[in-house]
Symmetry: C2
Subunit: 258 residues, 2 copies
């Protein structure tokens, strides 16, 4: 038996999210199904964490134990041949015995893509949030700076969640502009990237919704500081839509998963 | 009555192409339908030319005559509100009376996007041709150079086409690398851009298929010169798939459409 580390990219548009649900197709179930064909039995695939319906991934990480002696490169090709084209195993490696992609994760990086401007970009409609406004990037950067550090993020947690603690550490929260897949100047995307040791349910999307409020001058940077301190979900901004969010990377200690 | 110039971006994945067909939905029919709601009658929309099923556009241009006195900016918003999100009017302007987007077109620019490398990119699957090989960009550039100038492009015309003349002028044919919407290094797209005074049916896709043969070292640059001179479709390479092709721009004399 070998423990494998899978790095997975997926376009989440058609899926109910990473995790199996009673209804609809999950990315986890697709990968378990592809492995079952090779392995001849059902194997449980452990993701680093859930992603919501419609959320995408460049580098979701998962672990699985397999018994079949197939070479790693052949297994990657075999799995990709069986998966739909919107889900790809982009890297596959042997990991130390017992590696668990969820419990060993040290930090995660999410990217949120926003397309500002009056006319939407048809090539970005499933991969960014169209905000038909000019956004004040400098104020947004300042609001993102409020999030960096160890804080109680209860204000940015989905209503009704139950977790042991709502304290998390954000190590970086940056904003950059990037050319969209379109039509020359004036069509830059605003990309927000957030790295942390863990995220509450909807936390990135709620932070982004609040930061976009600031970018639209509906809310001051000081008010964001007050929202964070107040730990009240009702005072934060709206939840940004799922289809702008990408899980970029999951990091592990070198010893856990080289 | 005013003559309008529409600049249109569309994701062609769901459509039978620009032009109305007996079966399926065309972009032309969608735009005519949106205008009919505003105008109260069916108006004929003239595109600069056809695009095949699955081909995309950043800047298709069309002309139409409308009688309704609505302000241009309001009309653009009204049309976009009625169109599906994969079709957008990105610019709308009044043109000289009688402007015809097809007959006044002076040159067109197409871009063809290729994603090389073993593992496909799920975010590029509808917007590039996945070629699971290393491509020799310098040889491809040399093969593209063969196309520049005024030539009889009969070898690159879809079989069975009938046109008055197969002579066309290509003014530029370039290759560049561009970062894909993915996962760091080694995932650059190869983009081929071709500008000319007009294109035969499948001409860009047949040129790209032949140039990719060169990039894969299945064919020499000299053989491309021979294929062009031989004017025989059967000696050229395969037709590259539609979903990698984008109509980038249509250019007009300033007097025809400022």
């Amino acid at each position: 038996v070998r423990t494998l580390k899978l790095t997975i990219a997926y376009d989440g548009t058609r899926y109910v999210g990473w995790q199996r649900q009673a209804q609809g197709t999950s990315v986890q179930a697709l990968i378990e199904g592809a492995i079952a064909i090779v392995e001849g039995r059902r194997a449980h695939v452990t993701g680093s964490g859930r992603t919501d319906a419609g959320v995408h991934a460049f580098g979701q990480v998962a672990s699985v134990e397999i018994g079949h002696p197939i070479a790693i490169a052949d297994l990657q090709r075999a799995l990709n041949a069986r998966l739909p084209s919107d889900v790809r195993i982009v890297a596959l490696a042997e990991a130390p015995r017992g590696f668990n992609a969820r419990f060993a994760a040290r930090s995660k990086t999410y990217r949120y893509r926003i397309f500002p401007g009056e006319t939407a970009n048809p090539f970005e409609r499933d991969f960014s949030w169209h905000v038909p406004d000019v956004l004040d990037a400098e104020s947004m950067r300042a609001a993102l700076g409020v999030m960096v550090g160890t804080h109680d993020f209860a204000a940015f947690q989905a209503a009704g969640s139950r977790v042991r603690t709502t304290v998390r550490t954000i190590t970086a929260a940056t904003l950059s502009r990037r050319g969209a897949r379109l039509i020359g100047p004036g069509n830059d995307l605003v990309e927000i990237e957030v790295t942390g040791d863990g995220f509450l349910r909807h936390m990135v999307r709620n932070i982004v919704g609040t930061v976009v409020d600031v970018g639209q001058r509906r809310r001051s940077v000081d008010s964001v500081t007050a929202v964070l301190a107040g730990r009240d979900r009702k005072r934060a901004g709206p939840t940004a839509p799922a289809h702008g969010l990408f899980l970029v990377r999951v990091d592990y200690d070198d010893a856990a998963a080289p």
